[in-house]
């Protein structure tokens, strides 16, 4: 049996099996073992079985990742996120227990720079945990993120929140986007170098 034969045979077998990602299998098995809290043969086999069942019964759509991880950008992103998380928690905790009138906020819109749904999601999730903002709505097509900003009264403060969210998105892009300059640089942005797709969707913002 030649190598080509064997390969064809393996491909034939693979076609019969449902598509199961080995990384998903590994991750779910690790989760199972950690949840049981002890590593033995029974847990390992049980975990593999459960992971296989989950992946076959609830198949997820394939996600095409156009990401390039930059270690330095990722480090900046995570470090800043931790600092922001602590600051946000202390701030909101103080606002909730301080004497006097309670804080209010406003709802506002903001346009994101990227069209990649995964990066938009990451930005939105992180924005929910950093100071001043909670995400209300995200429209991936028009890239409009609606968020609620706490303790904001003036336009200037609203603008500061927008600035913070854009900086957060820029950090996400610098950590994971294959070409952050193409999205972040306003000059290249205006020339339409990002490709044809998103340019056709115009944003209608409420007056």
């Amino acid at each position: 049996m030649t190598g080509a034969d064997r390969q064809r045979g393996r491909r034939g077998v693979r076609r019969l099996l449902p598509p199961v990602s080995p990384w998903g299998l590994l991750w779910l098995t690790v989760v199972w073992v950690l949840l049981w809290g002890s590593l033995n043969v029974l847990n390992l086999l049980g975990g593999l079985l459960v992971a296989l069942l989950v992946l076959v019964l609830f198949p997820l759509p394939r996600v095409d990742l156009h990401l390039r991880v930059r270690p330095l950008g990722l480090l900046v992103l995570l470090g800043r996120f931790l600092v922001d998380l602590v600051r946000a928690s202390v701030e909101v905790a103080w606002l909730s227990v301080r004497p006097g009138p309670v804080a209010t906020g406003v709802v506002m819109d903001l346009q994101l720079a990227t069209d990649d749904p995964l990066l938009q999601t990451l930005t939105a999730e992180m924005v929910s945990l950093v100071p001043g903002s909670v995400v209300v709505e995200l429209d991936p097509g028009s890239r409009v993120l609606t968020l609620h900003a706490l303790n904001v009264r003036t336009r200037h403060q609203a603008e500061q929140v927008r600035h913070k969210v854009r900086a957060q998105e820029a950090r996400v892009l610098r950590a994971l986007h294959p070409d952050p300059a193409s999205v972040l640089d306003p000059r290249r942005h205006r020339n339409g170098s990002r490709g044809a797709g998103p340019e056709t969707t115009t944003t209608q913002e409420a007056p």
Partner: protein, 118 residues
């Protein structure tokens, strides 16, 4: 004072701080005026509070796979709490639970804020 003592004390401090943050989150949920401001209280101090409690438990238990389980709990908290608050906020927004006075769209994107700082 041994390393174990230091870890124990650090763990206790983390537990205490985490519990205080969770308390503040609960007070915020009671005191804040509307749905979206409550979501602020329900996400940020809540997440950090839970993370600190987990860290405290981890520092006091110090066994490998237990820590793995705690890391898992923390990770899922970080992933699910923002998504949950987003869903609640969106549902409230779409069903008109937010008073119109609180809606402020502000400047359109692309306009320049030319007022001086401060």
């Amino acid at each position: 004072m041994t390393v174990v003592d230091v870890l124990d004390v650090l763990g206790l401090v983390c537990l205490l701080l985490g519990a205080l943050l969770c308390l503040a989150a609960a007070i915020g949920l009671l005191r804040f005026p509307d749905l979206l401001t409550r979501m602020h209280a329900g996400t940020k101090p809540q997440v950090l509070g839970v993370l600190l409690v987990i860290l405290g438990v981890g520092l006091r238990s110090r066994s490998g796979l237990d820590i793995g389980m705690l890391v898992l709990i923390g990770l899922f908290q970080l992933l699910t709490i923002p998504a949950g608050s987003h869903m609640v906020g969106r549902a409230g927004f779409r069903t008109g639970q937010i008073a119109p006075a609180h809606i402020h769209l502000g400047q359109r994107d692309g306009e320049v804020d030319d007022r001086p700082e401060g």
